[in-house]
């Protein structure tokens, strides 16, 4: 009995972390599909979301909702500036240059955050209290429910956007074949800009909802960004839903590994999975993407 309760607890916390990885992975996949770039700065938007919320809450003393909205808006603006200033001027650059540029941007954003907000770790209050809820002997915090709810909402919204709105369809067209999309009158440049805007918004949202559980500081982006990338590799870049599955699977494996194998190697588990998948199915994952990118 005790054993199954423990297992259930691990599964719950694994799924909530997994949801965060899924959201971050979603941002990776969106930019990759629009531009073929893996944005190494993705994790920094997650950090920005959390840190900006802390800033608005504690320094400007805003209440939680305007603080979150402002944090998402500002992160999105940073994402847009990043695309305009660093990505767009480099048309047809080699992958190597693009990797180095997004790494540069990631360090720059992290450094700026460190200068502005210092090196301290900050706590963000939970959205609706810290009273644990008991489900089948396992405890769950209200914040976990928030994470599940926000993730599901964002994924549903994404699905509707990409399948039913004209802009969403245009973005899918660009992902499928940018040249052909340009020929039928879609402004490909704007779609790329939009993909950066959306993925930085989603990234910052992920950072905001996880901040109350894990605390936040200027350097949380690196690890979270990498885990999001693992999620995308596990699930595949092809569709939103498989990224979500990848994220949840990663979260679960990590939680179970930390619980039953070794807590101190928790972070290593994600990377071992990443390497194994890249080694075993390096082309298999791409092949799926070639057939259908969104």
């Amino acid at each position: 009995m005790d054993y199954s309760r423990q297992l259930f607890q691990y599964i719950l916390s694994g799924l909530s972390n997994g949801a965060i990885y899924a959201l971050i992975g979603f941002g990776f996949a969106m930019i990759y599909n629009a531009t073929g770039i893996i944005n190494f700065a993705q994790g920094e938007f997650v950090m920005l979301g959390g840190m900006l919320t802390v800033f608005f809450l504690t320094v400007l003393k805003l209440s939680i909702i305007p603080a979150i909205v402002l944090a998402v808006v500002i992160s999105t603006i940073v994402g847009i500036c990043f695309e305009r200033l660093a990505i767009r001027p480099l048309k047809n650059a080699k992958p190597l240059s693009l990797i180095i540029i997004t790494i540069g941007a990631s360090i720059f954003i992290r450094g700026a955050a460190m200068l502005i907000w210092g090196k301290d770790t900050h706590a963000v209050p939970a959205f609706s209290g810290n009273d644990p809820i008991y489900i089948a002997g396992a405890t769950i915090l209200p914040q976990h429910l928030w994470i599940f709810a926000v993730t599901i909402l964002i994924i549903i919204a994404g699905r509707i956007f990409f399948n039913y709105s004209i802009t969403g369809k245009a973005m899918r067209a660009c992902a499928y074949n940018a040249q052909a999309a340009g020929l039928v009158g879609i402004n490909v440049k704007n779609m790329v800009l939009l993909s950066f805007a959306i993925s930085s918004a989603i990234g910052s949202m992920a950072g905001i909802i996880i901040a109350p559980l894990t605390m936040t500081s200027y350097d949380v982006g690196v690890m979270l960004g990498l885990k999001g990338f693992c999620a995308v590799i596990i699930g595949g870049m092809s569709s939103g839903l498989s990224t979500v599955m990848g994220g949840l699977l990663l979260g679960l494996l990590e939680a179970l590994g930390a619980g039953y194998i070794s807590a101190s190697y928790k972070d290593a588990i994600a990377f071992i999975i990443l390497l194994l998948i890249l080694f075993i199915r390096p082309e298999g994952l791409f092949a799926k993407k070639e057939a259908e990118r969104f």
Binding site: I100, G104, A105, V222, L226, I233, L278
Partner: protein, 334 residues
């Protein structure tokens, strides 16, 4: 045809000449800096140059990125550190052992990792680096964990102990110069040409009969071995090591050195290593800003000066020469 061959010969001779001038300058420097703090900084410039050249072999020659090179540096440092603090064996033997271990590891993981390209290669090497960083941190019984491993003995040859800046300078720079000479020769060799072919187009290189898969793994292995030797030297010179020196941030710092110096340029790697090692030492203000400045340098140099500082200077020199020629031509016409 004959003429062309002669040109290559002179180019090679020119390169060797430049190298000997550089080497002489490097070996003369301590004479002017005896007892100065600068000498201590230059020891670390030497270690970082070695690492930057190693990464440049992979990144600049073969066009394959690695974001986990600090891990090989760490392997060298920890193997030397752990064994020499426990057993009274000649540390130089352990350097060879460390280099061998790093080489075997690089060779084994090289095959699956270097199958990947571009962003995926970057992520896989990064993942490898993070895994090793976690191992350095968590195997407390061996590495001392986050608080580090101390009292690593200094290197010695007979009664010559490498425990002061003067001796360390020569120790490090003999290794560094050897690595630089090796890399310059490699660039001019058949292997170097094959690597550059892979850099430009792997498919075309394969079509021409270059065994790209094996060659990439080989250069990755060479690069890892050099990094491990640098790590061993670092451990013996510092006599203290901690995982923080071998993390992702240091991998990025190495990348920055190579990029700002110039991809594929050996002297560029030296320049990049010198700049990144000396700036924080001399600009105290720089301390808090270093991370932001690295980020900016990486972005701006990649965007506006793809050849790095050395490439940029060469270009500038070419433009000036062309201008002077033009002026001369005009004068002659007049």
């Amino acid at each position: 045809m004959f003429l062309k061959k002669q040109n290559i010969m002179t180019e090679k001779r020119q390169q060797i000449l430049v190298f000997f001038i550089f080497a002489t300058a490097v070996l003369m420097v301590p004479l002017f800096l005896k007892g100065s703090y600068l000498l201590n900084v230059l020891v670390f410039v030497g270690i970082n140059t070695m690492l930057a050249v190693a990464l440049n072999l992979l990144l600049g020659y073969a066009g394959q990125i690695s974001l986990g090179h600090a891990a090989f540096f760490g392997i060298g440092a920890y193997i030397s550190g752990i064994i020499t603090t426990r057993f009274p064996i000649d540390p130089f033997l352990i350097i060879i052992l460390a280099a061998f271990c790093a080489g075997v590891l690089a060779f084994v993981i090289g095959f699956p990792i270097l199958k990947l390209k571009g962003h995926y290669l970057a992520m896989a090497t990064l993942g490898f680096g993070v895994i090793l960083y976690i191992i350095f941190n968590e195997t407390v019984d061996f590495t001392g964990g986050p608080s580090g491993l101390s009292s690593i003995p200094s290197l010695h040859i007979g009664s010559l102990v490498f425990d002061n800046d003067w001796n360390n300078y020569y120790l490090v720079w003999v290794f560094t110069l050897a690595v630089m000479l090796l890399s310059i020769n490699l660039f001019q060799s058949r292997i170097g040409r094959a690597l550059r072919a892979i850099h430009d187009s792997e498919v075309a290189a394969r079509v021409m009969g270059v065994n790209a898969r094996v060659l990439k793994v080989q250069i990755f292995t060479v690069s890892a071995v050099i990094s491990a030797v640098a790590g061993s030297l670092y451990a013996h010179i510092m006599t203290f090591i901690a995982p923080a020196s071998f993390g992702f941030n240091f991998s990025v710092e190495l990348l920055t050195m190579v990029v700002i110096g110039g991809l594929g340029s050996i002297y560029g790697s030296f320049l990049g290593a010198a700049i990144l090692t000396m700036l924080p030492e001399f600009l105290r203000v720089f301390q808090d800003f270093d991370i932001i400045v690295y980020g900016l340098m990486l972005m701006l140099i990649t965007m506006f000066m793809p050849g790095g500082l050395v490439g940029g200077m060469q270009k500038m020199a070419e433009i000036t020469v062309a201008k002077i020629r033009k002026m001369k031509g005009k004068n002659a016409q007049a």
